[in-house]
Amino acid sequence: MAFNPFAGLHYNLAGGRNKLILAAGAYLVVMLVGWYVAYSSAITSFPLRTGRPPSELEKSAISSSTSAGTLGWVAGAECLFLLLMVPLAVRKAVVTDYTSGMLESHRLTPLSGVRIAFGYLSSAPILAYCLYAAAVLLGAWLCVDAGRLLTMPAGVMLQHWFGGQALLLMMSFLAASAALLLALHAPGKKGAPLLIFFFLGGGSIIQLVPGLRLLLGFATASILISVVTKGLPSISGAGPSLIASALAQIAFSVLFFAAAARKVRVVGGSLFGLNHGLLLVLLFAVVTVVAICVMPSAFSFGDPDLDALSVQLGASLAVASLIAYAPLAAAADQQNASENAAAFGERRSARSRSYIVTIPLLLTALMCAMVMLGSRPDLFVDLSKAKAAGAAAPGSVTIPAGTSLPAGYRLPPGSVVNPDGSITFNPVPIAPHKPEKLSFFSFTGDGALPLAILLMLVMDIAIFVVCMRNQRAAVLWVGIAYVVFRVMPLLADGVQEVFDDLREDSQSVVVTTAVSPADGHTHGTDDDENFEAEAEHHIIESAAGEGVKNTASNAVDAGADGNSARRKSPLFFGQVSPLGTAILCLARAGNPWPGLAAQALLTAAFVGLWYRGLPKPIPAARPA
C-alpha cells in the first residue's frame, strides 16, 4: 500500500474480496463443468462409435485428450484476460478518473508518475488478474494432474505452460502500457481500443514491417487461435527470434511505461517526451535491423526469387518517418516551453536553441542507419533496390521533419500534433498486404518507385492526420485504414493483372484511355483492337527514357465493354492519395527524386494552407 495506494483503491472499487473470489470461482466452475461435459459426452458416445464400452485405458486416453482440449480453452481465456481485459481495464480506469476529475487529483499528490502509472497497470485490472491467476492454476493442474481425481494429464509440460505464461505476461505488459499511454494522452476518445483489430487482423501489416513482425509477431489472430486450439507455444521450439521478440517487447513496454509515467504528470503536450521520442525511433530502427538479421527467411516467404526486402525496408522507413513525429512534436513543445521560461527569467537550456535543426538531423541519421544496416546484400535479389532505398532515406525523413517541426512549434500548448499510436500502424496497410502483390510497383526496373509510392502515401496520410488536429482523426483513420486494409488486397489482384498484361505490351504504354469518337464515352482498350484503332491514346512513356509524352487520366470509369482488370488503373493508388497522382506520373519517368521533390512542394503547400488558419502564437512579453 505504501508504494502503491492504488492497490487498496481498486480492490475496494472492484467490490472487495468476496466479489473477486466469486468471479474467479465462477470461472473455475465454468471450465470444470465444461471439462466434465466434454469428458462425459466422449465416454457416452464411445459405445456408439465402437459398439463397446471404453476400457480403463481408453477412459484415461479420453480424459487426457479432454484435458488437453480444456487446456487450450484455458489458454485462450488467459489471452482474453491478459490481452483484452487488462488493457481495457487500464483504459477504463484512466478514462473514469479523467471524467471524474480524479486524474487531476492524482496529479496534485506527491506521487511520482512511475507510481501512478504502476498503480494503473498493477491495480486497475485486478479482476482480470484474479481470473488469470485462477486460469494459471487450473492450467497447471491440468498439466500435471495434481488431483488425479478427475483427469489425466493434458500432455503439456509444466515448464512449457509457465514459459507460455511468461510470454503472455510480456505481451500483456506491452498492450497494457500502450493502452495506458494512449488513454492518458487522449482519455476522452474511444478509438484507441480499435487498435486491437490491427493486431488481430491477420498480421498483414506485420508481414510488411519486419520490426513490427518481431515485436508483435505473437499477437496475430492466427497465433491466438493456435493458442486456443493447441496451447501456448513452447520457448524451446522458437529459438533466437522468440528471444529477440521477447526482448523487443520488454524494451517497448518499458518505453511506453516510462512515457505514460511522464504523461501522468505532464498535462497536455506531446505524446512522448523528447528523450522518449528519440528512444522510440532508435528502438524501432534497432528492432527492424535485428528482425532482418535474426529472421531473414521470414521475409522471402519461402520464395528465394521474391525481392521482398526492398519493399519491407520502404515500409519500415515509412513507419519510422511517422514515428519520428513523436520526437519532433516533443522538440517543438520543449522549445516552446524553454523560450517561455527564458522570457520569464528562468534559465534556458542551451540545447533548445538548436532543436529545430538537430532533431531532424538526428532522426535522419537514425533512419539512414536503419536502412543501411538492414540492406543486407545477401537478401536482395536486385541490389539496385537496396541502393535506392538507402538513397531515398534522407529525403523521406527530412520532408516530414521539415514540415512538422515548425508546424508543431506554431501550435499553442495543449494542441496536438502527435501521432497517436494508431497512425503508426495504419498507413502501411494502404499498400497491398503481401510483398508479391507489391511487385507491380517495380515495373520501372530501378527499384525506386515502390519507395516513392509508399512514401507519398505515408506523407499524405501523416499530413492528413496532423491537419486533423482534432483527436477524432485517430478514430476516423482507424476506420478508414481498416476498410482499406481489407479492400486493397482484393484490388491488388486486379492491378497485378494489369501490369502483367502491360509487361507483355510495349514498354511505352502503361495506361491507355480511349474515348470513342462515336459516343464520347471512355473505354478500356486492352484487347479490343478494332476499338483501339478508333481510340485516342494517352501514352505515358516508361522508364526506358523516352520521356513523358502524355499524361493519362484514370481509367477507372472505363465503359462496360472495357476489360474489368484494366479499369483498375495504377492511378487508383494516386486517387487514394490525391497528391500522389502527380507524383506517380513523375516517378514513372524513372527517377524518384522529381517525385519526392514534388511531394515535398505539395506537402509544404498543404501545410502552408493549413498554417494560415492557425492562430498566431502570442510572443512572451519580456520582463522590463
Binding site: G101, E104, P110, L111, R265, V267, P412, P615, A620
Partner: protein, 314 residues
Amino acid sequence: MSATLLELDRVRVRYGSFLAVDDVTFALRGGDLLGMIGPNGAGKTTTLRAAAGLQPITTGSVKIMGEPIHPDRADSRAPLGFTPDTPAVYETLTVAQYLQFIGDCYSMDRPLIKERIDFWLDQLWLRDKRDAPVKSLSRGMRQRLAVARTLMPDPFVVLLDEPAAGLDPGGRLQFRQLLASLRDQGKAIIVSSHILADLAEYCTHILIMERGRVLRFGTVADISGESDASDTTQYAVTLAARLGDVENRLKSFAKVRAVRVDGEKLTLELPRDKAAAAEALKGLIMAGLPVVEFRPIQVDLEQAYLRSGIAQVD
C-alpha cells in the same frame, strides 16, 4: 511580513484560438484570502487551474513558494490544494475509504491519516457520514468532502473553485468560519465564488475578472472604494436624539456637499480626503450635536462588482 506563497506573472492561457486568460498577474502572501469574482466564462476556473499547474499555460509563470511549477516533478504541487467546482470523488467508495486513499497518496502514516480523517470530517460536518458511500451524499456534502480532501495534506496554498455552491445557509456560515480560520493559520487561499456577500466577509483581497483579464485587484476596502467613481465619500452619522433643523445647520458646514436626514440618522456626503471627514466630525461636535456614531459608508462588494463595468451579470 509573510512570504509570498503564490505568484502568477503575466499568465496567458489559450484554448485554440480562444484566449481564456490574458495577462493575469497577482501574488498572495500567507494569510491572504483572495476572492475571485466575475461572470461565467471570465476565466476564473482556468486561472485557478493554471495556478494549480493543472492547465498548461501559453506564456507566463506560476510560482509556489518561490519555485516555478514543474509538472513532471512530483513534489512541485505538493504544497498546494485545489478543489474543483465539480468534486472529484470515487462514487463507490465510502467517505472514509476515499480519504484513506488520499492519505495514502500523500504517504501519511496510518495513525495520522485516521487522525486527520476524524478531524476534517468533524470540521466539515460529515462525521456521521464516515461509512456512507460517496454516491449517497448530497451535492453540498460532496462539496465538503472535496474540501476535506484538499485540506487533508495540510497545504500552504488552497485554491477553491465555487466551494460554497451546494451549501445550505448554515453550511455557508460554518464554511465562512472555516475559511477565516485557515486564513488566520497563515495559508494563502483563493476562493472563486458568486456569493459576493460571503466574500466581503472573509476575504482580504478581491480580484474581478472579465473575458480573461483582471479588471480589479486589491484589498476589499480598495476594491469597494475604487468602485465609487465620484470624488465624494458618504458618512453615516447617528445622533443620540432627533433634532430639529439639523439639515440646514449641517449644510452650512464648508466641507459638506449634501445632507440627508432620517430621524436621528444622518448621511453626509464629504470630499474623499480624510481631512475633510475629520473637519466635519469636529464641526459636528463643536456645534453641540450629540454624535454617537460617525463612520464611512463602504460601498459593498456587490455594488463594486456591478460598477466595475462588467457587461454580463450572473
